[in-house]
């Protein structure tokens, strides 16, 4: 059992958990993820690790309530326990001194981009961070991002805070003014696709972090297959970071949507109270 020591509500749907997992906190690196189960009947879902605290023995993750499992998760409070936490999984980010880099976080993608920006900064890079959300309410960790960046640009789609517009626009502006050696972009699949399309003509090497459906997270099932440069890769062991210019985003998005109907049924099962036994939502 893994104790949730802290919970923060960033918005009605965006939550932060700090979870006791001393080994993972000590060993994990930027770019890696973990898998959790909420309870004995729960599914295994991957979440990126947003921060490590080796002294306290905790890891931090931020998630958005979208389906059954993330909503079940959102109902837990500090002091509650998760039945399973396994990690760190996946390859870590290749951290080097590249020179000047951009770190882009869109929506909840700000969470996983933070440890990457931090590690890049520590490695001596000039880090320009760009974070974006649909509106002001959905933004979080602005200060934290600023603390690991040489420059931070904040965008909202509706202009309710920071600069109005998409993160892709901000990247174009920056790239117009100076040379960029490498870029990381993490966020919803359409945002990462748009980012890759933006940086390709600019010739900026772009790394994205994919979050396909997973089961084991150790290379045993192939649920997490993605196509990169025409080759099939297992995101859980070969990734989760890949060359954004090589990723088949359409395929990745279609695969993410495979269980949409089941998601609805699983959610309905929590609302009528029968736990699925009555067959009312079959």
């Amino acid at each position: 059992m893994y104790k949730i020591v802290r919970k923060e509500d960033f918005s009605s749907v965006t939550k932060l958990f700090e979870v006791e997992a001393p080994k993972i906190a000590a060993k994990g690196k930027a770019g890696q993820f973990f898998i959790l189960r909420v309870d004995e009947k729960g599914e295994r879902i991957p979440l990126t690790i947003a921060d490590y605290n080796p002294e306290a023995g905790t890891i931090t993750t931020i998630f958005q309530e979208v389906g059954r499992t993330s909503k079940d998760l959102g109902k837990l409070e500090a002091g509650d326990y998760l039945v399973d936490v396994v990690g760190p999984l996946g390859e870590s980010t290749e951290i080097e001194n590249y020179g000047r880099v951009i770190c882009v976080g869109g929506g909840v993608g700000v969470a996983p981009i933070y440890p990457i920006a931090k590690a890049l900064k520590e490695a001596g890079n000039e880090v320009i961070s760009i974070i974006g959300a649909r509106n002001k309410e959905l933004l979080f960790w602005e200060e934290k991002m600023a603390s690991v960046s040489d420059k931070l640009i904040v965008c909202t789609d509706d202009g309710s805070y920071g600069q109005k517009g998409f993160v892709t626009d901000a990247v174009k502006q920056v790239a117009d003014e100076m040379e960029i050696n490498k870029l990381w972009a993490i966020g919803p699949m359409p945002m990462m696709r748009a980012m890759a399309a933006t940086t390709k003509p600019l010739g900026i090497e772009t790394i994205v972090s994919l979050n396909p459906i997973m089961v084991d997270g150790t290379g045993m099932c192939g649920a997490c297959r993605v196509s990169v440069g025409g080759e099939t890769k297992f995101a859980c062991v070969d990734g989760p970071e890949f060359d954004g210019h090589q990723v088949d985003f359409d395929l990745a998005m279609r695969r993410l949507a495979y269980y949409k109907d089941e998601e609805k049924r699983a959610e309905a099962a929590t609302t009528c109270g029968c736990g699925g036994g009555c067959g009312c939502h079959k």
Partner: protein
């Protein structure tokens, strides 16, 4: 007593009924049948059967105890050598092991050794009373076991009995390996697996789940952190794909994913259990081994109207156990033989709708002695399917080989280990089971675990 030529039949759940549920197909002998079957054994002076048993179960001795009605005695006798008897009695291919060698089998059917083993094990599960294994005095030595499949569990149990302090590291959230995630509930109930694992824990074995070696600690780190030896039993879990167009469409599963969702995650009880799985109306399973049979039979139980085995060669070459094929046939699984897909086709949402197949004919025998299938030109046709399960075999789990400095591997990526001792090229590091042999059987993995435990004990005593 006149010798009965055939084995007492195993009572089965009716085929029409059983495809609607996930409960066990084979129901097990009752007391009367068990004793009658035991009486078929000649209690040979030089029991041939034991030559076929990789873990050296004292077969005639335990069968004699069943004859006498001493079922507790029988299970204790088995447990001196085999720590997972309820599992082995169900899933071992006895026809190619102990029963293959049984003398009675020359003139009739061999003694139903596996069924008797199961009877004794189930007797204990219901009535309790088996002695916990004898434990020797603590040696103060620490051994790490990586992977909790049959290889790891056997090594762990034996090493604990020898007095060593054993910790098992398992990547998944439960122990058992393929016994939990692969082999379906209707052949091997998961409660039974867990009960047997509890017995191993009672020997003092600690099992740490959610612990991925290679990510959290490497094998080298385990040695540095104070383990005196490491046994690697990480299995053959990497699913093979065909590398043909459309393989990443929604609806194309590896057998590992399909079975893991269903067994480990209990998707057959969706939405009560939250993990989903889809079987659709028409399912095609590619391959004809045991894993394929399990997948095709699972698909029927998940509600598929039609479930096909699609296989490149003919019936004769199907690698699955006879019994598995028969059970699949009884349940209505259909066989499209001398056939293989060349492409998977989907709709605009990326969902599988059909597969293009080509027919084969058998040509000359190849290196394996089986006739090589040759595609027949122009024989392509389209087969409508909602789901495809690829059961083409598995390769070694790559995480440990990838992260263990200097560990010698074979050409296929398996760990190179001494057949008799499990010793690898690294001092103090032993390996066994599917990670060494490639996908094989539960009992071979257990045999490897047993041999390695002995070798590790020797190593530790001389260290």
């Amino acid at each position: 007593m006149s010798q009965v030529k055939i084995k007492h039949e195993m009572p089965l759940q009716d085929a029409g009924e059983r495809i609607k549920n996930f409960t066990e197909v084979a129901l097990g002998y009752n007391e009367e049948t068990a004793v009658a079957e035991a009486n078929r054994c000649l209690n040979c002076k030089k029991p041939k059967c034991m030559e076929g048993c990789p873990v050296e179960v004292p077969i005639p001795e335990f069968i004699s105890l069943i004859k006498e009605g001493d079922f507790k005695g029988a299970i204790n006798k088995i447990k001196t050598k085999n720590s997972l008897p309820a599992v082995c009695g169900r899933v071992c291919p006895q026809e190619s092991q102990c029963e293959k060698h049984c003398i009675v089998g020359i003139k009739g059917e061999p003694v139903g050794i596996g069924r008797l083993e199961r009877y004794a094990a189930d007797y204990e599960l219901q009535h309790g009373g088996a002695k916990p294994g004898q434990k020797q005095q603590s040696t103060g030595k620490k051994v790490a076991v990586v992977g909790s499949g049959p290889a790891g569990l056997t090594a762990a149990g034996d090493l604990a009995k020898m007095g060593h302090q054993v910790t098992v590291f398992e990547a998944l959230h439960v122990a058992g390996g393929v016994l939990m995630y692969g082999i379906p509930e209707f052949r091997l109930p998961k409660d039974i697996v867990q009960t047997e694992i509890e017995k191993i824990k009672e020997l003092g074995v600690e099992i740490k789940t959610n612990y991925v070696i290679g990510q959290l600690d490497s094998v080298d780190e385990l040695l540095e952190e104070g383990y005196d030896a490491v046994f690697i039993g990480t299995g053959a879990g990497l699913p093979y794909f065909m590398n043909i167009p459309g393989e990443n469409l929604n609806g194309v599963y590896s057998a590992n994913e399909f079975l893991t969702r269903t067994n480990l995650m209990k998707a057959y009880q969706f939405p009560n259990y939250v993990t989903p799985v889809k079987a659709g109306e028409r399912v095609a399973v590619i391959g004809a081994g045991n894993v394929a049979m399990d997948s095709a039979r699972t698909a029927l139980r998940l509600g598929a109207k039609e479930s096909y085995i699609v296989y490149r060669r003919s019936e004769k070459e199907m690698p699955a156990r006879r019994e598995e094929i028969e059970h699949a046939e009884e349940e209505g699984v259909k066989f499209a033989l001398l056939t293989s897909p060349t492409e998977f086709n989907g709709d605009e949402n990326g969902n599988l709708t059909s597969m293009t197949c080509i027919k084969y004919e058998l040509g000359e025998p190849d290196a394996s002695g089986r006739c090589r299938p040759v595609p027949i030109e122009g024989s392509q046709y389209e087969m409508k399917v909602d789901n495809v399960v690829l059961a083409l075999g598995q390769g070694p789990n790559p995480l440990v080989p990838r992260t263990t400095e200097g560990l010698e591997l074979t050409k296929r990526g398996n760990i190179a280990a001494n057949e008799e001792t499990g010793a690898t090229n690294k001092p103090g590091v032993f390996a066994g089971g599917d990670i060494v042999t490639g996908a094989a059987t539960v009992i071979l993995a257990m045999g490897a675990g047993k041999k390695a435990a002995r070798a590790i004990d020797d190593y530790l005593n001389n260290k």
